[in-house]
Subunit: 337 residues, 2 copies
């Protein structure tokens, strides 16, 4: 049964008061693609904006099987026990097909999901990465307005979604497995360069020695990379969600990061840059979608692209043809309206 | 005195016949921003397209002072002496201000510029990087149609121009200096990842031992990076334009690259991908320029951006406002035309 929308004031007061049911409904509103919902969602967001920005935002990524959810549960439980209020969000564009391929399974973080200080929200099913990222960013702001002081943003190792998450968090943590052979195989190009720390998981039992070796190897490799954050040298750590080793240590590292970058001004500067970049990203997404989604372009593009690749049509000519067709169609629409 | 334009047939026959004077005039036509010239230039290009693609395209970059022009002169002379026909182009967006800050100085490659097998063309002064890159790509095609079998594309170490050049060449060579301290300081983020080989220059006299040490260091560092070309492991080399050491060796490496990637199909696949990517890049450049260059957007953007950065305006609202203003303005123009 569809519930009525709340009023602007009801959403704002509810979120501000930390009412989880209203927070969940506000997030659902933010995630809706219906025009009427989108307009109200933007009003809610605008009213709550003065109360956002207070959380430490931490991105967490790693390939499937690295143990992201067990790590997040262990870290989240520790932080909740210390009195923090922890929101866990996910960014996973692929979940639009399978409805929640990460964080969708309620049993995955069963203990954490029952903790009164924790709030877990699966990835929005938004279609494009741009849509998913927009909804996740706005959800993050709602969680801050609701008083969560730590937001963990989980994503999967598909490349583009890491860049989107890097653009919305303060600290970015890459979870890695100690492999059998070359420690550095299987890392997506450029992902290590986004990270403020590497964390080798499952460092327990027979695997602990391998994890320590991988830590030494990565520590060396990190010397050759430009740090993701100005003035901060990323390091490699080990942890075990099973024994608990390394969980408190990695959080100390994240707190040290926050303290140092806050003192240097890098923390605030990144937040400003992220807001500005987000404007440009959304505009460019819109322009691209509008052009490549237009029936005239969709009709002509395949043959033109083929001619370019075969070397029978100069690229500049191809582009001029497409742009002229698109702009003529737009002007026709303008005249007709 | 301005010379008359040649006819389409005169340009095509002249370039195909290897007439340097007509080649130079065809390049000038390609570089022109006048609409009448652009239309003719595209016709010339289209007629010559079947005769392009025959050169090995090599990009060369490095920070100022690394010795790019002395290296290119030494390499170019060696290749010309072996009977190759060598074109040297430059991509340097900054030259739009100073009219040729690289390759502009005729004395820089004096010997090579006098060799009958060589053709040197300074960077076009196109304003934006997109404009410069478009002109350089099309100049490269003209040089191929004129029978040059090796094209060296030089660029400066400013980051974005390396990415543009990587998108138009088969092999990308990064020149580096053996530094005194940490060998890896001062490399622009991500530039090493674009390279198919590193070449440490000025390996002569007292500097040769330092160059060898740097070579060992880089050889180690390259293990940690994802190769720029599928199946090709980049390595570090040393050279001296003064003693001639290493010049023949690096060319052997480039030939080995061509042979191996041709056999594996990676060479042809990259050329196809480059043509396709170029279409998308030009379209996105156009869409961006049209949006951000529109007076309505230019009028509203500064205040909106400021409000977003200060946290008083939600990003999505800001973007919606800008897009609506832009599209209303366009429709008005459409109706009026």
């Amino acid at each position: 049964p569809r519930r009525r929308l709340l009023t602007l004031d009801e959403y704002v007061a509810g979120v501000r008061g930390g009412d989880r049911s209203i927070l969940a409904r506000a997030i659902t509103l933010i995630e809706s693609n219906a025009p009427a919902h989108m307009a109200l969602a933007q009003e809610v967001l605008r009213a709550l904006l003065p109360y956002t920005g207070g959380a430490l935002r931490v991105g967490i990524t790693g390939v499937p099987g690295v143990g992201k959810s067990t790590f997040i549960e262990a870290l989240g439980m520790m932080l909740c026990e210390r009195g923090h209020r922890v929101a866990v969000l996910a960014v996973d564009p692929s979940s639009s097909i399978s409805r929640g391929s990460i964080l969708g399974d309620k049993t995955r973080m069963e203990r954490l999901s029952r903790h009164p200080n924790a709030y877990i929200r699966p990835s929005p099913t938004g279609g494009s990465l741009g849509g998913v990222a927009r909804k996740s960013r706005e959800t993050l702001l709602l969680c801050e307005a609701a008083g969560f002081d730590i937001v963990l943003v989980e994503t999967v190792g598909v490349g583009q979604s890491e860049i989107a998450v890097r653009g919305m968090v303060d600290f970015f943590l890459l979870l890695m497995l100690a492999g059998a052979g070359d420690e550095l195989q299987g890392i997506k190009k450029g992902i290590i360069e986004l990270a403020d720390a590497l964390l080798i998981t499952k460092a327990d039992g027979d695997n602990r020695a391998r994890a320590l070796a991988a830590q030494a190897e990565y520590t060396h490799a990190l010397r050759y990379l430009t740090p993701a954050t100005e003035g901060w040298r990323p390091r490699a750590y080990i942890c075990s969600a099973q024994t608990g080793e390394g969980i408190a240590e990695i959080w100390r590292e994240i707190e040290r990061f926050r303290d140092e970058t806050t003192a240097s001004g890098v923390f605030a500067a990144r937040r400003r840059d992220q807001a500005r970049d987000w404007v440009y990203t959304l505009i460019e997404d819109h322009l691209r979608t509008r052009f490549f989604g237009h029936p005239v372009v969709q009709g002509q593009l395949p043959a033109i692209e083929q001619a370019v690749v075969e070397g029978t049509l100069p690229v500049t000519t191809a582009v001029q043809t497409l742009i002229q067709a698109f702009e003529s169609a737009l002007q026709g629409e303008g005249t007709g309206s």
